[in-house]
Amino acid sequence: MRDVYVIGIGDTKFGKTDMNIRQLAEEAVWKALKDANLKQPDLQVAYCGYGISGNLDCTRIVAGQVALKEIGIRKIPIMRVESACASSSAAFREAWICVASGLYDVALAFGMEKMTHLKSIDVLDRGIGRTIEQELETNYGLLPFGMFGVVVRRRMHEYGMTMEQVAKVAVKNRKHASMNPIAHFQKEITIDEVLNSYPVCDPIKLLMFCPASDGGSATILASEDFIKKHKGNIPIKVATSVLTSGTYAYDSTLTNFQAGIDAAKEAYEKSGLGPDDIDVAEVHDACAAAEICHYENLGFCAEGEGGLLVEKGETALGGRIPVNTGGGLLSRGHPLGASGCAQINEIVQQLRGQAGPRQVEGAKVGLAQCWGGFMQMDGASLFINIFTK
């Protein structure tokens, strides 16, 4: 396998927009081409990721080809991949395999989602509610909210995690988002505002959940041979790209997710790096409480101590290991298919030293973790990408 580098990134503004799903992809891909100093014919292969937009009447088939044709990206292999919230993490990993294997030198990964054009209940019924196991869970009333609800209850029971700690994740990520021009929500919030927001799913409040957003993100990868001959933005090396699926063992602890633990172990083994090497991380905080689980999965602290980590400010900008400096899914927003590449793009900005007011000083190693789908108390897809300067 060859070394692979990220050479271009592009994101739309996340939030509510009048752009359709094709245009969201176009803008993100165009920005990534500019960032990489490439022209359309330089791209040799493309992977497109979206989760639920097909269910929401935005697109039906060959969405990748549809998204790229008007900006002149044609006559190359274009594939759509799907992994719920992690769909563009899946696109990124396929693109990485393409370049690492030696088959291609330049690959595009992108993702997009259109979610704000329908009523919330329809987005839930047709889209978000379908990202978890149907036959044993959704058909009996479970939604992703409830899935996080049972995890939070179990963690409160087992570890004494508090709702103030969970609220603090939301406040921290919103503060980070206030410095991120693409973020859906940029106005800072307080712990009281979070704790007093609508009780979506006891004991979790509205501001502890990510919003439904529109958005697109794109990432361009290239081989070492290519970057030697090419002048563009600062290349960032992919140290490893790992994907696993869940255990679905019917006997989960419900305090954490086995796929998250397994993926972290594999990512560290394959990269030769460990949790102490990570300077900055993006993790899948669809619910603020999940971020606390991920601290533990990723080895930033011991199992059960994630709540204390955020309480002590260690995962805020300026802390020991800043997490979700881009605002996370909670505040950057969560256009499902775009979030995977958006996380990667945030890490790339951090390692390039181009994150502006959000910059983690001296960041050399960054990690992006994305989780797609939930079944029988475990993640359906768990992606971890580690990057080095």
Partner: protein, 142 residues
């Protein structure tokens, strides 16, 4: 009472997961005779998800009593479901945890607690898009 109705009178969400044995409803599991692991969904092929043994799957009635492993109350529900709805993962003696709605239990009642004992019953779970009541297992505190 729903429990007294005949199976033929009610629409079940999945009639492979709930069956009437000796006049009483039971949840049905799939047990592997080779390794003992129990799963729920009926399979198209008789293979164990845990040890890969073939032809060793048997249907067994699951214990009706279990304990609340964790619970929550969803204030937002899908169309056709009643809300706010207390729901839980129930730990059964067979070693598996099952997601189910809770019944005969208000959202903030004392009996809604981790470790609380519950018993399986069959109740209406939701109303489908054609307006039919759809029944399945639920658990009630005891």
């Amino acid at each position: 009472m729903e429990q007294e109705k005949n199976l033929s009178e009610i629409k079940l969400e999945n009639d492979a997961l709930v069956k009437k044995i000796g006049g009483e409803f039971f949840m049905i599991g799939r047990r592997c005779k080779a390794c003992g692991s129990v799963s729920l969904l009926p399979k198209a092929v008789p293979v164990c998800h845990n040890c890969f043994a073939e032809g060793q799957i048997e249907e067994i009635p699951l214990s009706k009593r279990g304990t609340i492993f964790s619970y929550t109350v969803q204030n937002i529900v899908l169309p056709g479901f009643a809300g706010p709805s207390p729901m839980a993962y129930i730990a059964l003696p067979e070693g598996l945890k099952v997601f189910a709605l809770l019944t005969e239990c208000e959202p903030y009642e004392e009996k809604l607690k981790v470790g609380g004992e519950v018993e399986m019953t069959v109740k209406k779970v939701y109303k489908d898009k054609e307006g039919n009541d759809v029944f399945s297992y639920m658990f009630k505190p005891v």
